[in-house]
């Protein structure tokens, strides 16, 4: 494959990942071929150890495959240098982690603006975009607070704001509702659906949460490092 189609935001070809656990090779992924198009709201499901998080790490360039290729927004990740990959993640990928992963010593505003700071966005513009993004996720008036002063649901909203503020091509979320109560999780899911519809960003979740599975447009089931089923609703 030389080039992805314009709407193919992620293409994987024969992606394999082998870990050495105590010297014994363990296949986390076994030749995964997958195409995800722009604007999709996709859930990756499967039992623990099926390879969901490994797959997310590989398609985001956080980890490298043992074999196979990944095209993200038309670029082959394995052909990029360390700096190119960092810049690519900064410009094209927004991350939402299970444990929020906000930087505890930075305020909410500093956490959200950090990626724009790396991209060299002027201070005044950063501030305006942070405030607009926080408003969009329902967090007015908390810009100066520290993450520890917020509830779990609020911290996850900040994490969503951080992921989306630089308008990336794709949002990758690893079990985003796992640490939240069902009402907060439902609210966040509804919000992400709204942002997906408004911005056209591609959302990919790994999840065990039936509520997330229910709301996804496409459901990809992984089992033993392979795609077991792929349903589009």
């Amino acid at each position: 494959m030389e080039q992805t189609q314009q709407t193919d935001v992620i293409v994987t070809e024969g992606v394999t990942k082998v870990y050495a656990a105590d010297g014994i090779p363990v296949n986390a992924l076994n030749g995964v071929d997958l195409t995800i198009q722009s604007g999709e709201f996709t859930a990756l499901v499967g039992p623990s150890g099926s390879g969901k998080t490994t797959f997310l790490n590989i398609i985001s360039g956080l980890d490298s495959p043992t074999d196979g290729k990944v095209w993200l927004a038309g670029k082959v990740l394995s052909e990029m240098s360390g700096n190119e990959l960092s810049d690519f993640r900064r410009d094209h990928i927004g991350f939402i982690f299970q444990a929020y992963n906000l930087i505890p010593v930075l305020s909410v505003e500093e956490n959200v603006e950090y990626i724009m700071l790396l991209a060299g966005v002027p201070k005044a513009e950063r501030h305006d975009r942070v405030i607009a993004m926080l408003t969009s996720v329902g967090l007015e008036g908390v810009a100066d607070r520290m993450p520890t002063q917020l509830s779990g649901g609020q911290q996850q909203r900040v994490a969503i704001a951080r992921a989306m503020v630089s308008e990336p091509t794709i949002i990758l979320a690893d079990e985003p509702t796992a640490n939240l109560d069902s009402k907060t999780g439902a609210d966040l899911l509804e919000m992400m659906h709204r942002l997906n519809a408004e911005t056209g960003m591609t959302f990919i979740f790994s999840t065990h949460d039936p509520m997330v599975m229910e709301s996804a447009q496409r459901l990809i089931t992984l089992r033993d490092g392979q795609i077991d089923s792929d349903e589009t609703k």
């Binding site: 790490n57 985001s60 956080l62 980890d63 360390g82 700096n83 960092s86 810049d87 993640r89 900064r90 410009d91 991350f95 982690f97 992963n101 930087i103 505890p104 010593v105 950090y114 990626i115 790396l118 991209a119 951080r162």
Partner: protein, 153 residues
């Protein structure tokens, strides 16, 4: 008099040896401090790398920290050294009756404050601290974000 010259020469050499040992201890202390502080925040470093910080950007954080550590240490050390030497220069150190290389000290020794010591040594400490910071800085720059985030769980 020639014996006194030998004693002074010996003192000069032992000062150099002590200096090398002290600088060695300081360098290992700094590397240890920076690594401890790095491992405590491994997860945060992983997140910063994940969201797009370049490898050199991470290394720069560690080098800035090493520089800050050096500046604070130099400031405190200089003040402490100035006060202690100033006091001892006034009251003296009692070496009377102590024999060294066949020479018996008869009087108090009074240390002398030299401005040079407060310029040359701090510059060396600053340079050595930055050099010591290169190893942890390289370590953090080479770290894969996914490993950094996994290691801290």
């Amino acid at each position: 008099m020639s014996q006194l010259t030998v004693v002074l020469e010996m003192t000069r050499y032992s000062k150099y040896i002590m200096g090398v040992i002290l600088f060695g201890v300081v360098v290992f202390g700094i590397i240890n401090t920076l690594f401890m502080s790095l491992y405590e925040r491994m997860f945060e470093f992983g997140v910063l790398r994940a969201v797009g910080t370049r490898p050199f950007g991470m290394a720069r954080v560690i080098l800035f920290e090493a520089g800050a550590l050096a500046i604070v240490s130099i400031g405190l050390g200089t003040i402490l050294g100035f006060v202690l030497t100033g006091v001892l220069a006034h009251v003296g150190i009692d070496y009377t009756g102590i024999e060294m290389m066949g020479v018996t000290m008869q009087e108090f020794i009074y240390p002398v404050l030299e401005v040079q010591q407060f310029i040359i040594y701090p510059i060396w400490v600053f340079i050595f601290t930055l050099i010591a910071g290169l190893y942890p800085a390289r370590h953090v720059a080479k770290m894969a974000p996914v490993d950094a985030m996994r290691r801290s769980f």
